[in-house]
């Protein structure tokens, strides 16, 4: 039996899910929209958490930031899982070919001991900072409100783990896969006086209670300073020391930083424009964490870079703060 289907009867009954229609009208929706908006449970929670009975399972009061609609914090990159992993897979492929090239040509052998020492002392320890960034973004993901921001925080957290692993691989390439350079670099992190301020700050950050505060401290303040100092500025210094090839290995981090800054700047802008109270909070937090981070970074940048390096990084941070509209 052949069945003739009239096209007229195959008209859709509706274009998208009702929650998406309520937000954007009755028209076809994007995959990002359908996979993001209103996914998180809003009401009628059954039991108070045994670990935090003062809150509901999903609770807007875990930060002092107030948003009428937390889904306003949409991701300009429109990352849902599929879009995210496919984008990262592309970056990974490029990184893999650089790492492969570096390894195959034994480029590590051409690095001077000075360069190697510098990397082990100042670059590889960043993997511990990335570990903290992973924790802080996970914290925001777990305690944040609404899929728009929490999914982006999760992607960010996983990225940080990825970056920590790339940094570790740089170490493994330096030591011929013995792990010795990672042991040494961890010793620096644990004992070298230059790093202790940063280590103390990382430890402190993981005890902050307000999720938006810690996400801001990490993704705006610390990241802007770290990425400027340890990738952009250090890159120049390495080139001058005959370590230009290292740039192949940190390109992922640089490209990544650009990608997430775009997202986080847009989040901040939206939060600021929501209310003066939000703006004041962001301002206070930014000041507080900027002071702490600069203090912590001073010894290590002092040893590693030119005296003006820190000012240059601060200028970069101030640019972002201004762009987001975070003022007193």
């Amino acid at each position: 039996m052949t069945i003739e289907i009239k096209t007229s009867t195959l008209e859709p009954v509706r274009n998208t899910f009702a929650n998406i229609e309520r937000r954007f009208g009755d028209k076809p929706a994007s995959r990002y929209q359908e996979a993001t908006y209103d996914l998180q449970a809003e009401t009628n929670f059954h039991y108070r958490p045994l670990w935090q009975p003062e809150f509901e399972l999903n609770d807007k009061n875990r930060t002092k930031i107030v948003m009428e609609d937390w889904y306003a914090l949409k991701d300009p990159r429109q990352f849902y899982y599929g879009a995210y992993v496919q984008q990262r897979a592309k970056m990974q492929e490029a990184a893999e070919s650089s790492y492969g090239f570096f390894e195959k040509r034994n480029l590590a052998d051409y690095l001077s001991d000075d360069v190697k020492n510098l990397l082990i002392t100042y670059l590889i320890p960043l993997r511990h900072i990335e570990n903290t960034a992973n924790l802080n973004n996970m914290y925001g993901c777990a305690f944040g409100y609404g899929t728009a921001i929490t999914q982006a925080l999760l992607y960010n957290a996983m990225d940080r783990l990825g970056i920590a692993q790339y940094l570790s691989r740089i170490g493994l390439m330096l030591d011929g896969n013995t792990g010795q350079s990672l042991i040494e670099s961890k010793q620096h992190w644990m004992e070298n006086p230059a790093w202790q301020g940063m280590r103390a700050l990382c430890e402190e950050m993981t005890t902050v209670e307000d999720w938006f505060e810690v996400v801001l401290a990490q993704n705006l303040v610390m990241d802007t300073l770290i990425f400027n100092l340890f990738y952009e500025q250090l890159d120049g210094k390495l080139a001058a020391m005959g370590g230009r090839d290292i740039a192949m290995l940190t390109e992922f981090m640089q490209a990544w930083n650009k990608d997430v800054s775009k997202w986080f700047d847009s989040v901040l802008k939206t939060v600021v424009s929501e209310s003066d109270e939000n703006k004041a909070l962001l301002h206070a937090w930014t000041e507080k964490w900027q002071a702490k981070t600069l203090e912590a970074l001073r010894p290590v940048t002092h040893e590693l870079l030119e005296p003006a390096a820190l000012d240059q990084a601060v200028a970069e941070l101030e640019k972002r703060i201004k762009k987001a509209g975070i003022t007193a």
Partner: protein, 120 residues
């Protein structure tokens, strides 16, 4: 046993306290061995309602769908209140005869064996 929480005084008020029902109380009613009705019914009733009102005005709407309902001889039907044998007093209020908040009332009609005699 008791719950193990981060604080020793993990205590949340019971959600279904009688005062939350705006003057009503919950009473569950079931007809044993008549599984046409998949589960006992839950009613929100004023505690002052008489047993006769429950039986003759509230119950027929749902239970009346069963063809045996009109054949019930209420003189011989037996009752359990919260699992104990119980003889209802038609003219007394639910509350006065111990039908409390979240009480279960079940009745049995052994001569009526359900659809096809299969307890349906």
């Amino acid at each position: 046993m008791s719950v193990r929480a981060i604080t020793p005084d993990y205590k949340v008020q019971a959600r279904d306290r009688v005062e939350n029902f705006h003057g009503n109380q919950i009473v569950y009613v079931a007809w044993d061995h008549h599984l046409m009705f998949c589960a006992p019914f839950a009613y929100a009733l004023p505690p002052s309602m008489t047993f006769a009102e429950l039986r003759d005005q509230v119950m027929p709407e749902a239970f009346g769908l069963h063809e045996e309902f009109t054949k019930i001889n209420w003189e011989t039907a037996t009752w359990l209140l919260d699992n104990q044998p119980f003889t209802p007093d038609l003219n007394q209020s639910l509350k006065a005869q111990g039908v409390g908040h979240k009480s279960v009332l079940r009745f049995q009609t052994p001569e009526l064996t359900g659809f096809q005699g299969k307890a349906v």
